[in-house]
């Protein structure tokens, strides 16, 4: 099987086009701002699901909604814990740095 150099270069340019990151529409924000937004979203999720669970226990919401809210809370808490662990890890890494 012979592979022509032109074909190879063509395929290579196609791969480059696919691998290029898509342009971001959202404006660039500072990391602090992004963290603040994420924390606010996290709190909103927790508060909302707390309300749903309370309504479910009182018999005003159906069990499906309660389960959905609990799953959303679980994922939000897992995300928050994972991010916090990463941040603490990075901080400790900096502390261990020989001066």
């Amino acid at each position: 099987m012979d592979i022509k150099a032109t074909l190879a270069s063509q395929l290579y340019s196609q791969v480059q086009a696919v691998a290029r990151p898509a342009p971001q529409d959202t404006p660039v924000r500072s990391p602090g701002e992004a963290f603040a937004t994420a924390a606010t979203d996290f709190m909103a999720t927790l508060r909302q699901s707390e309300e749903t669970v309370k309504a479910g226990l009182a018999g005003r919401a159906d069990p499906q909604a309660v389960v959905e809210a609990l799953a959303a809370t679980e994922l939000a808490v897992q995300t928050a814990v994972a991010v916090r662990d990463k941040v603490v890890e990075a901080y400790q890494e900096i502390l261990r740095m020989p001066v």
Binding site: D62, Q64, A65, V67, E68, A71, A72, E74, L75, Q78, T79, V81, A82, V83, D85, K86
Partner: protein, 130 residues
């Protein structure tokens, strides 16, 4: 809102719809011997939520089955007319059982999808935690 969360919301709406359906089926079976009872049916409608971009399902208005009531011959019954018969319900137990089974299967399918989405999100976070 991520796609996985939207998946969970949609499957929860599906479970709620199937729960409403099986409730109506149970009511029909419970009233199978009630004279003059017409079986209740419910339709499913897609709910378009533009703010969350989800296509959830919801139950439509409850309708009564317009088919003929069964005429039961029982001269001893206080409801019986001059010809010794009265109108029973139009509930067919076989149809109701089949409907209940279908609702059960649909509920299970929605539950499976819910669990699937949850596991996918969980394993994605597990990758971050490593």
């Amino acid at each position: 809102m991520s796609d996985l969360e939207r998946t969970m919301a949609a499957s929860a709406s599906g479970m709620a719809a199937q729960a409403a359906r099986i409730r109506l089926t149970t009511e029909n079976i419970a009233n199978a011997d009630t004279p003059g009872y017409r079986r209740k049916t419910v339709s499913f409608e897609a709910v378009l939520d533009d703010t969350r971009d989800t296509r959830a399902v919801a139950t439509g208005p409850v309708r009564l089955d317009r088919s003929e009531l069964v005429r039961i011959y029982d001269p001893g019954n206080p409801l019986a007319g001059a010809d010794g018969s009265y109108l029973g319900s139009n509930v067919d137990l076989v149809v109701e059982i089949a409907d209940a089974r279908e609702a059960n299967r649909s509920y299970e399918a929605n539950l499976k999808m819910f669990d699937q989405a949850r596991q996918m999100a969980s394993s994605l976070l597990g990758l971050l935690r490593r």
